[in-house]
Point group: C2
Amino acid sequence: MTGGGQISPPPRLLMGPGPINADPRVLRAMSAQLVGQFDPSMTAYMAETSALYQDVFRTANDATVLVDGTARAGVEAALVSILAPGDGVLVPSFGRFGHLLVEIAQRCGAEVTTLEVPWGEVVPLERIEAALAEVRPKLVAIVQGDTSTTMCQPLDGLGDLCHAHGALLYADVTASLGGNTFEMDAWGLDAASAGLQKCLGGPSGSAPITLSPAAVEAISARSSVEAGLLDGDEQRPVDERIRSNYLDLGMILDYWGPRRLNHHTEATSMLFAARECARLLVDEGIDAAVERHRVNGGAMAAGLVALGMETFGDQRHRMHNVVAVHIPDGVDGDAVRAELLERFGIEIGTSFGPLHGKVWRIGTMGYNARPDAVLTTLAALEQVLRRAGFAVGAGAGVDAAIEHYGTGATE
Amino acid sequence: MTGGGQISPPPRLLMGPGPINADPRVLRAMSAQLVGQFDPSMTAYMAETSALYQDVFRTANDATVLVDGTARAGVEAALVSILAPGDGVLVPSFGRFGHLLVEIAQRCGAEVTTLEVPWGEVVPLERIEAALAEVRPKLVAIVQGDTSTTMCQPLDGLGDLCHAHGALLYADVTASLGGNTFEMDAWGLDAASAGLQKCLGGPSGSAPITLSPAAVEAISARSSVEAGLLDGDEQRPVDERIRSNYLDLGMILDYWGPRRLNHHTEATSMLFAARECARLLVDEGIDAAVERHRVNGGAMAAGLVALGMETFGDQRHRMHNVVAVHIPDGVDGDAVRAELLERFGIEIGTSFGPLHGKVWRIGTMGYNARPDAVLTTLAALEQVLRRAGFAVGAGAGVDAAIEHYGTGATE
């Protein structure tokens, strides 16, 4: 017997940096039966999904679609479609997901310039401007919310700076979208991509992406139609084509757009999930969702501090949906996480790279950005910390969070 | 209002070349709540999924995992991970999905040699052998079942031929796996990838893939660990790295394997779907599933011929799960398809490239490889053809299919 029985995952409250529990509405949407790839109902669902994500990204971009893969597929689709080998890209980096942008851009054959700040800080716009003037890249690629450090990079004004220096601006908003203010058009972004498994309350596996007319133009200048698909082929010389077929946004736009040229077979169940994630946000209102993340994230942070822990990083720039706290001296961080998982069914996050073993990362996002999830986590963590020998005031975390809720909405 | 209401797709019987209706067990599996990425239950599900697909592919390869994307992502992952720029690849091609292998391999920077036969035929092994001797490629890449022509390429013996000439062998088995005999190890393949939306009875969006030790060795020789992930990085010079990060099978194996190095966030719901698809096949028995496809596909073909239509292509090499028939003279193929969809809720397929407007492609696969689905399709098609002015014998298609079922199992 190789396969195990019927699917039956244990009950978990996922309070790490993501993935988090999916909203039950999203799980139900995925259980809908399939329709054909070009069925009128399917193309209507695609159009609705595009329109919904225009609302979520706050953009008028028609070129708003899904990449069929995890958030990372959306990042790579943006970079490989925009950047030709030899193109310059500037990556202001403040954590692991900045490293990822560098890594992916390098594999695209781009000339990458990195502008790094210490983990726990964000990148000052003046420094980006100076680097823009010096490097004159085709693209600036930056993360909005980097869960590895919990920092949220200010982006307001960056679009204008980039355009003044002839650069396009891409942001990876996977971890921030829906829980932190993001304004695609008002901030002048040219490309942004996300995932479902953070503030959008869905499973990983679909990457919403949006492209400005300027980004579409840059991509169209490299796009090519697949052989065997049209009678009169429109094939570009091999060396000039986008280096990936699967992640070629030109082809993906031809599939989603009026030409409806066959590319991949749309991941229908994930499209149903992505559509429902966006419906949840649009029904709630994007501003209300961001405020909910701000209030619940603030309550979690207040509770953790009241339990005697110190936050990591510049708290003025903390993402609403995840907070990092130093693991107290003498406490075994992995043992606490294991006991929280095994006895209470609650997951909190470990860390990467320079922060590994030093901080826990605790999320309040998407479906789990709720007071009951925050208070349950704080109550359980208090018990586990006490049992680990760390002196905690009885009820201190929960009291502080409740206090925060009393004042949080009017901060 | 931009977004439409609750998901509620119309009822469809999907009898085209795929996607087809998902088995309800698969849809239910996807509605399970999520767990964390490294939760012990999650890593156990990943291990079970790997073992199940070893059964499905008929292989002992430990390197049997999922690529988080549609079938096309699995194809590109195999090619981009094995082929370095300048490497030679031989593509014996007999349809649109052979063109796709050429297209993807070209974008990987490989030197591609194509060996083409007319649509409706398969490629004789002698011709592949002659080309192997001449080209001496690093890889032979071939489709097993190409739905564009409905042909199923014989692969038995090809592994030995490739190895004798120092080449690895990859097959795209997306459309054939589970419905046609496939023997990864007995036939000596080094890599194969699939999708869920054909004979596996699931939705598009996950690509099972398996790699022989020789393929793993070729990939390991190019793999690199992401910056910011380990303290002591193991980074390869940029020019030597696999050109994609997302589709880098070395990194995906490090994520699925004992090192558990973070890469993408596994698409949990799609993993649950992929696991259930494999459980369905393993529960039924792979041989029994192939036989079910053979019998139901044969019944469909017999019924279509009895309705007065002529099959396309070399029927000795037809895939079990899809048949192409010439659209009768004077009949508007798209109008028939539209009436079948609108009045009966039944989808059959149109065609690509040289066959566009000339043949319909009718599938019997996965959950829909069932007598009731075959007979319902034939009954409805008879009505629509008659209304379109084509002379059909009353009951001829259904009678022939029922006759076939009486004899089919013992052919």
